[in-house]
Subunit: 405 residues, 2 copies
Amino acid sequence: MVISLNPPERLSPVKGIRLATAAAGLRYRDRDDLVLVEICEQAQTAALFTANRFCAAPVVIARRHLAAAQPRYLLINAGNANAGLGEPGLDDAQVTCAALANAGGCRETEVLPFSTGVIGERLAVEKITSHCSSLVGKLQEDAWLPAAQAIMTTDTVCKGQSRQLQLDGKAVTITGIAKGAGMIRPDMATMLAFVATDLEVGPEQAVRLVREATQQSFHCITVDGDTSTNDACVLMATARSGARFSELSTPAMQEFTRALNSLFLSLAQAIVRDGEGVTKYICIRIEQAHSEKTARDIAFTIAHSPLVKTSAFASDPNWGRIVAAAGRAPGAALDMDRLSLYINGLAVIENGQPAPGYTEAAGSQAMQGEELELRLALGSGKATAQIWTTDLSHDYVRINAEYRT
Amino acid sequence: MVISLNPPERLSPVKGIRLATAAAGLRYRDRDDLVLVEICEQAQTAALFTANRFCAAPVVIARRHLAAAQPRYLLINAGNANAGLGEPGLDDAQVTCAALANAGGCRETEVLPFSTGVIGERLAVEKITSHCSSLVGKLQEDAWLPAAQAIMTTDTVCKGQSRQLQLDGKAVTITGIAKGAGMIRPDMATMLAFVATDLEVGPEQAVRLVREATQQSFHCITVDGDTSTNDACVLMATARSGARFSELSTPAMQEFTRALNSLFLSLAQAIVRDGEGVTKYICIRIEQAHSEKTARDIAFTIAHSPLVKTSAFASDPNWGRIVAAAGRAPGAALDMDRLSLYINGLAVIENGQPAPGYTEAAGSQAMQGEELELRLALGSGKATAQIWTTDLSHDYVRINAEYRT
């Protein structure tokens, strides 16, 4: 099931970025599973990678290469995560980079590898290397949509977004694609996102923009709390629009940042809407916290509570579970007598007690829709946080229990 | 389903403790749901309560009364948690204590209230107060088993343990009962444990003993990570055996501590064996960690991973999920190249790579039983931790989704 999510009809090309896809047959039949992204010279690329210490070989190599050079190519495969294999996995990732560098006429460090899929199986390297030359030959600007489709693993809907802006009179495009349907999908690891703009952005600005955009998007979603071994998020700024971020007027700069953040957020929310076994798309909003960290900790504790998630699945206004999860969040200095809870706008708890006039029937009614907002006001400050998550359904258990059996 | 857990056939009386039960009809029909425990004078009682800031009214009152006086009575009800009700809930708990104090001829502060059950519904106070006199009249030493049955909520098996010791030639008894089948059961909150011994124990020793015993038992289990609003664990030392803890020989002191800890651990493990929807009883053992905290953090992160839990349900040796959960544990300084993983003794990963000769078939075989040991050696120190948990089954979702609908 998917909650109000359609695949993009079209994704706008970004000047300076060309893409190509191929069917390497790594895991899937009758579909493309290999993507090459070419980034023009003079572009600025920044990336964030998984915080999991058990990170996959391509993450290690991509980090190392990005520190050494500005990338000219991203080489992405779906179906095999190349994770949990030690030294041989690193060798495999490097062999694919070398083959692509040879075909593309660049240095090996100018290629970043990305993998998503099964953990613990060796990568069929030759299935990738044998496609490198033909991928380079097929590169074209208008191929974001097939790329979005080729990076899918167990996603049921492909995910992409474009924005067209006029910044101080100049046309600027942002286009991004993402994959992911759980933080980890069965053995199928990973969230990946690739976002490009033709705006010119300096190196420090690129890092700051990708960090800020990720902080309010991919860092605000959770399906099952399991950070994957392969998560990566890449921002490419090609400088081909003629507009330069640092020279924009303040309103144009704000417009670009807003558009970039909104695109990141849409991609992140698309991952939740397509989450494993999802039947409810849930926004958890914490208000009046004494710090943003507290607000986020409480929001994630609620989002990860199996009891909250199963009651959402049942459309059960089980507020005791929500408040109990808030009460055990790390470091939360909660005054339970000031706490109020609203479910899709309905006052359920006010100042620590059932709200006047609240009835179970009204609560049940508020829980019926596919989209839920759980809003918790703590009465202890001014900080807020907002995150998105799924419920915990029979299908979640089925998908994750039956995957390999 | 329950994993290898039978109800106790008999529980030994503890000199100085008398118990009585009654059917107050708070939630259940045709069963007792109210327990009175009388503690003799000169006894020493220590207790630990939930760390959840959203703690129930009886927890607030019990903490307050315990700080003011040594308790003479524990008044325990099942079926209603008296939680989430603000000031009226506190009043209700106090009214029941006052009624019991009146019937038992003691001060109100000498009564500790305990409740377990539905959150957010007012306690039917008169159903409790009307039984106080008859409960006092029915008190007897040999009533631990009916008490263990009367505190059950959605437990499927009643939980109790006794130990008979000879300490320096004197007979000493320890008997304890517990309830719980999830950290929180649907709305049914809580783990409760009441343990008594006729050994004489000083006030500071009592606190230390209950802390240490709890640390290696109830603090080492998790079903769904949801600390309840009503958790409480009480140790009563009646001093009626003629033996005094502080005067025991070193071997006898060690024997008592071992017996107490083992009784606590058995009760804690019984809660997991009767966990919601359990089909696998899982011990997670972390070895060679650089600190016990790291070891515990990693163990709990693995235990709470929905992906690890669902693969255990499927008897799937999905080691990537276990290692990925370890890799995201808070503050873990993991060197993935030194990590080894054993499933029921079978080497799955050694030094960060699939173990030589490991096959999926052997892994599947190792996962088949109802009891699993996941042992992770980190290769970075000498600290260990061991915790117990359940899998995540269709029944867990069904139980928790369908409870109120």
